[in-house]
Symmetry: C2
Subunit: 429 residues, 2 copies
């Protein structure tokens, strides 16, 4: 592809470069919820939205909302977007690409004077990463009716409450219920679609620019405690040891093997500690974490059961004790098959083989299944798939083709059933 | 066995109880080199030695030395003993039993008016554990000619140099060369024998009170560094991961398996750390320790080679890097076959099946092979074989039978070759 053929990608990457300058700790990129930099990034995005022909502004929680009104009356709403905030020392595309790419689509539609059979709303969620208050997905939770007002009292590292931060930003923390898109008054939301950098290496390794997400994975997290018996490294023969670390090693390898052999699973042991932790003492107490994810909740739950059963077997055989109790569970958010097919068509229209893949990471879209069908488009992540890191990369070519595919989706999406339903409602009124 | 038959065991355990009161942190037992408590314990032991019919006092390094002179002229010396110092929060028998038991033997010989064809020296080494100055086996190193005078400048936690501590104790740090028993003037040392609590469960598990040590194990220690690639726990598929902790787990299990399958080896991974150490991040850097011991140096060296080779294989297969470099190596101290046989005879004379076993822990005896043949008698350790811990136990029955076996050894040992050699030397003069 020559540079001449790039219609959107170059501009989008330049916009991402500008947004990266709105950071709390330059030259690193860090932008948290309701910060000064959130405001700078929001004002910039609102400017881009207006320039693209949209009405735009902040909602009561500092979410950035732009509307491109439908070309027909009583039209439903299709929402798209992603988050404006970042982790500490972040890359430039996680979240922001999913705001910039649809703005480019609307700008093109507007340039052509083309309206859609639905109102397109683009949202820049104020918070997804949860860095400031330890609550993730604040923006999408509020909009999807999953917000717990008790979170308003959570404090950041400086003791500032979320309630105070939202008010200082110019928002209204007590208006959280008004954001719930399941309520009347906003227009009926018939789909939420999100474009996002993959944050993994699957598309990169398969030399594909785009992919259709099948589901946002559910997750189970456990803390595992193995209790053996300490002993002198020199004096206790191998066959009578109750070595907690050797037992844990076998368990860790089982997590890996089970997840490797079972398609859609990923399983990770990221933390481990062994006590007493001396070179010449057999470990007595080992604690480690297990994180298992899958787009398929049944498969994840049966994996957790298999892991717990095997851990018990290993412990029994080795004469150690094990506790492996889940303390966190999140169900998968499956993507709508019909919307997946429409994204597949949009990808195929770019001349690219269609790859379906699950999302192991969480995204704003995962909050919306209670509101409407969801779907996600993944864009290739360079540098081995690294994300949440300054070396996260996306090429202008990929940004471009992803935007063309998204535009193809917007141009072809037909909210038939919901138009009828909206019409019926009007009829009843 | 009824209590009436215990001739030595009850007294020895009472003496050990008294010695446990000479501690730096009561109610715990901690007694370090050249401390006030070293002096109290030494004075008590010297009293016991004199009461048993020996001449006794401190040498220039604070070692407690008692002599029971031979019944013949030009007699060589048999040395026995163990250490008076302890680890922090120690048990009561590690070290001390090897001083108290031979004192009980001499007391009995003296009661019978019996002299031996050699001078019996009992030594209470000032330091074996190395707690105060980070140098282990100070007493036996000095006596065996393995002392490095640079160690005199080592400081304890309060900044006191070893040199100053020895002088304050009433010793003479610069007299270290005079302690070397390879020098003329002390009498020729023809054997060093040590009685010691096993500090492991082998005799306990086999229901045996005593065992003959085949060798004091040699050891190799390595620090192993595994370098993989960090990644998001949700987004990196299992088959492209370079998980440093999964690789390390496989390595840890290989150490265990290899040592389990190869008779005299023990191998321990006591320390492990994984970075970045987050629940949702694949570990990139893992560091762990490996401690391998064996009474057979060739087997230990070939185990280290096998471990290094397998670690490389595992790393290659998993796409991670590994460094596994030994930073400490100590050769085994084999026990003399003839002395082992004499201890076996002494055990058999108590009506006990003879068990030979290696010592995985280090002991004072290991410093003496350059001076003379060595041997060790192991005594059953209760409570699962736990030692270096307050719950270390020895029964009065076991203390008794161990002392009877040691006495049998002393009464039957004939230093023939060396008597001849001493006589020849006199002839030449």
């Amino acid at each position: 592809m020559t540079n001449d053929e790039i219609r959107f990608g170059t501009d989008i990457l330049k916009q991402a470069d500008v947004l990266a300058t709105f950071t709390e700790d330059a030259p690193r990129v860090t932008r948290t919820y309701c910060s000064k930099e959130h405001k700078l990034a929001g004002d910039y995005l609102i400017g881009l939205m207006r320039d693209a022909g949209m009405s735009a502004g902040y909602d009561a929680f500092g979410n950035i909302v732009g509307r491109y009104e439908a070309g027909v009356p009583f039209a439903p709403v299709v929402m798209t977007g992603s988050h404006q905030d970042s982790v500490r020392n972040a890359g430039k595309y996680d979240g922001l690409f999913g705001i910039l790419s649809p703005i480019a689509c609307v700008k093109e539609l507007n340039r052509q004077g083309k309206r859609l059979p639905y109102t397109l709303e683009i949202v820049g969620f104020g918070d997804e990463e949860g860095v400031r208050f330890g609550v993730t997905l604040i923006g999408s939770k509020a909009m999807a009716g999953n917000f717990d007002p008790a979170w308003l009292e959570k404090k950041d590292a400086n003791g500032v409450r979320m309630r105070e931060a939202i008010a200082a930003f110019g928002g209204d923390p007590d208006a959280w219920q008004s954001l719930d898109r399941r309520n009347e008054g906003h227009g009926e939301v018939v789909a939420f679609v999100e474009s996002h950098i993959e944050q993994g290496p699957t598309l990169l390794n398969e030399n594909l620019a785009l992919g259709v997400v099948t589901a946002i994975a559910g997750a189970t997290r456990m803390t595992v405690r193995v209790t053996g018996l300490a002993g002198h490294a020199g004096t206790v023969p191998m066959n009578v040891r109750q070595d907690a670390l050797a037992a844990a090693s076998e368990m860790i390898l089982f997590v890996e093997r089970h997840c490797r052999e079972n398609g859609s699973l990923v399983g990770t042991v990221g933390r481990i500690a062994a006590l007493p932790g001396a070179i010449n003492v057999i470990p007595q107490d080992v604690e480690f974490s297990v994180d298992v994810r899958s787009g398929d909740d049944l498969m994840r739950r049966s994996a957790i059961e298999a892991i717990q059963a095997e851990f018990s077997e290993i412990a029994k055989r080795r004469g150690v004790r094990v506790e492996a109790n889940p303390y966190f569970e999140l169900n998968a958010a499956p993507c709508d098959p019909d919307l997946q097919q429409q994204f597949a068509d949009a990808i195929a229209a770019q001349g690219i083989p269609v790859r379906h893949l699950p999302s192991g990471a969480g995204h704003d879209a995962m909050e919306f299944p209670k509101v409407c069908p969801i779907a996600m488009l993944f864009v290739r992540c360079g540098n081995g798939g690294i994300s949440h890191h300054p070396s996260e990369t996306m090429t202008a070519e990929d940004a471009d083709i992803a935007t063309k595919a998204l535009l193809h989706f917007f141009e072809n999406y037909q909210p038939r059933a919901f138009v009828a339903s909206a019409a019926q409602r009007v009829d009843r009124s």
